[in-house]
Subunit: 233 residues, 2 copies
Amino acid sequence: MTKPRTAKTDRLISECVKATGGPEARERLLVAAEKLFAKRGLASVCVRDLVSEAKVNIAAVNYYFGSKENLYLETLRYSFRNSRQALPKLEALLKGAQAAGTVDAARQAIRWYVEEIMHIILISRETSCHADLMGHEMSHPTQALDVIVEEFISPIFKILIALVEQLRPDLAATKEANLAAMSILGQCLNYSLALPITLKLLKRSKMTPTFVNKLASQISEFSLNALSQNKGG
Amino acid sequence: MTKPRTAKTDRLISECVKATGGPEARERLLVAAEKLFAKRGLASVCVRDLVSEAKVNIAAVNYYFGSKENLYLETLRYSFRNSRQALPKLEALLKGAQAAGTVDAARQAIRWYVEEIMHIILISRETSCHADLMGHEMSHPTQALDVIVEEFISPIFKILIALVEQLRPDLAATKEANLAAMSILGQCLNYSLALPITLKLLKRSKMTPTFVNKLASQISEFSLNALSQNKGG
DNA sequence: GCGCGCTTCAAACACTTGTTTGAAACTACC
DNA sequence: GGTAGTTTCAAACAAGTGTTTGAAGCGCGC
């Protein structure tokens, strides 16, 4: 294990501490970084804030991560790795609906899907920070955005497309199905990214679990109505 | 006209140059600030970048605005003041629909409304910067957010609520009408705030005018379907 | 000409930034 | 105990930060 002390010449290293059970200083730094970067973004957090929060020496940032920027990238990987555990739940949802094979199963799966997404976005926001980190990535995209989309968002999106296609087999493999899925996901994501605005527009001070459920069922019913084929007229 | 040279003790001044036709250095600074802040955010832009872009002396920032932070606030007011000219168009749309009074008029007005919003969000993004500035405000909310919501977003939102209520008189004055309007606006706003993500998910490199129109009509039809009452079954 | 506000300027200020240093402390294996 | 490898530490580094300064320049009425 060599010391990664050459920040300027070697920024690519990210595994200087391998699976040796690694020292806790590195872990504490990641936890502190997740908290502070989520709250204030990359540029607004200085190294001294980080090490003070993590209770480590100032040299630890460059010792373990090579640079502050690299610590930021590792922090995003770290945060979204923790959040990816929501994925299996959604995958199981899709499997169940596909096993049933009916349109009604798809309808119910979409209801659960939206509820789950809204929960991840609005409720687990209190304990995890991925939503805020993603918000910063939207306005200040870095290389990390590619990783987040490919490993986290894209799989979630594909599950929704599959559910829409089961509900509306006539749309299968069309761009329309993709855009319909985007309409559903967009309604959810907007509550995450534009949270300050939506709170003001709906005249609320914060999101409570019961209100989040209400929003989720409203989005589901709105979207299922939009996708229903059997219209009169 | 006294010199506002006391940044630390008096940050509230914002009208040091009144309607005297003000010197062009101040205006150039605002234009440069709008461009740079939109691209990189408050913390990532330094005063020397600003004055270099605006071709003014470094002391001009504190001379005209008292501080860099205050220049940022003035820049947001400035940018959204320019963008508010989109409002009368939407208000006229509502007036027309209300004059006709029919459900079909409301349907058509919602189509135009969505098209107009998507245009403001995705096409005039090239020339104006309010969309990017708002993105930064979402992740780094400042006092300016209140002004933006009250003067810009809230009026737009209320117009949409009125249109939804004309389309569905049974929902008038209910929270359901508000949430339905939020579903529609959310689909649009998401394309602005999560632009980098949606581009990746839809496998596109950029938004073209024809694709924006396609998105707009998809959102309209999706939402009008969702709000239609005459369902079979 | 002179004086008076307002504006511009280069230089400097005090402070913060990310990073590096070299020695000290710790750990584990011989 | 000795030693090599790893981690921690206070101090310093150079570069960059927002802000201030005091003099110089400007336009204009007198």
